[in-house]
Amino acid sequence: MMYSEKVMDHFMNPRNVGEIADADGVGQVGNAKCGDIMKMYLKIKNGVITDVKFKTFGCGAAVATSSMATELVKGKTIDEALKITNKAVAEALDGLPPVKMHCSNLAEEAIKAAITDYKRRKGLIEDDGDCNVCCLRCEDIHHHLNDDDE
């Protein structure tokens, strides 16, 4: 497994680490069992993300994708932020090793989870109990990783 320089930069100097005490939306995805937890805090004004912070328990790629994801959403509207895909996060980092691609899923899901939390707080959506990636079990993700190996 080899990380790009950009991944290493975001790992060593992660942008926006921390918490926002009075966040408008907080999302946490992943679980300690799988070795990856991402927690994202959003400050939102007039539908625009004005501040963002994260905390991550996870590998180098998890930290770097968290950091990159916060950079990508900052200043964006909610709708723009929701369009950020895991591919976009990975590409912004000049790619991730195949076995680490699930970390970029986690980043996409963390953004979505934080915005969902914001919307829920605002009464914009109902709690529909929809499953997101954090419901996947390690084995499922693992299985997915090896899909291309027959």
Partner: protein, 394 residues
């Protein structure tokens, strides 16, 4: 990246020692003959590998004809486990092993399960130990093989091999031990230990990668694993890796000669590191047994952080170490060994293994203790799992 460059991962692999490489070099481009041939240059190779076989045999208390060279420790394990299973399947299909074996043994056993064998994976205690009593209790009339590793590659725990060997011998059951980590660190005599088969791998004791050996006691029934030519008395086909075999024997010879000094030094480094980590860093747990432990092995779990991040930060400071983190293996499950000794997933993910070698010094440990506490602190600051804890500490 860093001015320093310190290698603390000798359980993963070691460099080839100068004397070892020098012993190997003539066999690449000069004495390159195929040992199976009759002419001079072939006989030179043949003689060299037979001398290597004698050296290995002498060191472990075996006869030369009981030593078979292989392409790796993994091959030795696969051969021993599958070969003994198939050779004895008429007698029974039950195998006893432990839950903390290296994957080379574990996955070979799992494969055998898919082939209709039954495998008992003995659980270990919190230190990673099995007891001779457990082994004895697991033996059934149809048990044909006991395979228990000499020393664990992750947590360094050393098993009571002699006692298990005695039981296996009494019951007439073939006993294999994966000594890949023990070789070069522990004096091993296969006769005294009642071991019937033993695996080793040269790159773990300052020899080259891609060569191992299996000791097979005379009389042990074993089917072939590598079918083909008549090399290794018809039991392991493939043109012999002559330089590799020379390197393995030379490395083992050096390790055997330096054993005492090597151990004294490594134990000192190990014990000092364990002591300082426990003193300087909170929320840590030493994995493995305090005494029944490989001389160079230190393994800690650091709560709230993930191992790969820790390794990357250490690497940026010029320190090479290892972790039981799933992330380092490309899998998502952390070390089966750490789970087997009872660690919850999140602690298993946050483990660090430091394995010392001959070139390490006290200054290396000074440097480690300079950078490690700060790295752990930094990663904990970043961790959502540490949030509650931190405030209570600060």
């Amino acid at each position: 990246m860093s001015a320093r460059s310190i290698y603390f991962d000798h359980a993963a692999t070691t460099h080839v020692k100068r004397e070892v490489l020098e012993a190997m070099l003539p066999y690449f481009s000069e004495n390159y003959g195929n040992p199976s041939t009759v002419y001079t240059i072939g006989r030179t190779s043949k003689k060299a590998i037979e001398e290597a076989r004698e050296t290995v045999a002498r060191i472990i208390g075996a006869e030369p004809r009981e030593i078979f060279f292989t392409g790796s420790g993994t091959e030795a394990d696969n051969w021993a486990v599958k070969g003994a299973a198939y050779a004895n399947m008429k007698k029974g299909k039950h195998i006893i092993t432990t839950s903390i074996e290296h994957h080379a043994v574990l996955h070979a056993c799992q494969y055998l399960e898919s082939e209709g064998f039954e495998v008992t994976y003995l659980p270990v205690d919190e230190y990673g130990l099995v007891t001779p009593g457990q082994v004895e209790a697991a033996i059934r009339p149809d048990t044909i093989l006991i395979s228990i590793m000499f020393a664990n590659n992750e947590i360094g725990t050393i098993q009571p091999i002699a006692e298990i060997g005695r039981i296996a011998r009494e019951k007439g059951i073939c006993f294999h031990t994966d000594a890949v980590q023990a070789m070069g660190n522990i004096k091993i005599n296969v006769s005294e230990l009642n071991v019937d088969m033993l695996s080793m791998s040269a790159h773990k004791f300052y020899g080259p990668k891609g060569v191992g050996a299996l000791y097979v006691r005379k009389g042990v029934k074993l089917t072939s694993f590598m079918h083909g030519g008549a090399q290794e008395r018809g039991r392991r086909a493939s043109t012999e890796n002559v330089p590799g075999i020379i390197g393995l024997a030379k490395a083992l010879e050096l390790a055997d000669m330096n054993m005492e000094q090597h151990n004294r030094k490594l134990v000192a480094l190990r014990d000092r590191t364990i002591e300082e980590i426990e003193k300087k860093i909170p929320f840590v747990r030493l994995n493995g047994h305090r005494e029944k432990r490989l001389p160079g092995n230190v393994n800690f779990s650091f709560e709230f952080i993930e191992g790969e991040s820790l390794l990357l930060m250490l690497d940026l400071k010029g320190i090479a170490a290892s972790s039981g983190s799933a992330c380092t293996s490309g899998s998502l499950d952390p070390s089966h060994v750490l789970l087997a000794i009872g660690l919850p997933h999140e602690k298993a993910h946050g483990s660090l293994r430091i394995t010392f070698g001959d070139e390490n010094t006290d200054e290396d440990v000074d440097y480690l203790m300079e950078v490690l506490p700060e790295i752990v602190r930094r990663l904990r600051e970043m961790s959502p799992l540490y949030e509650g804890i931190r405030s209570s500490k600060e």
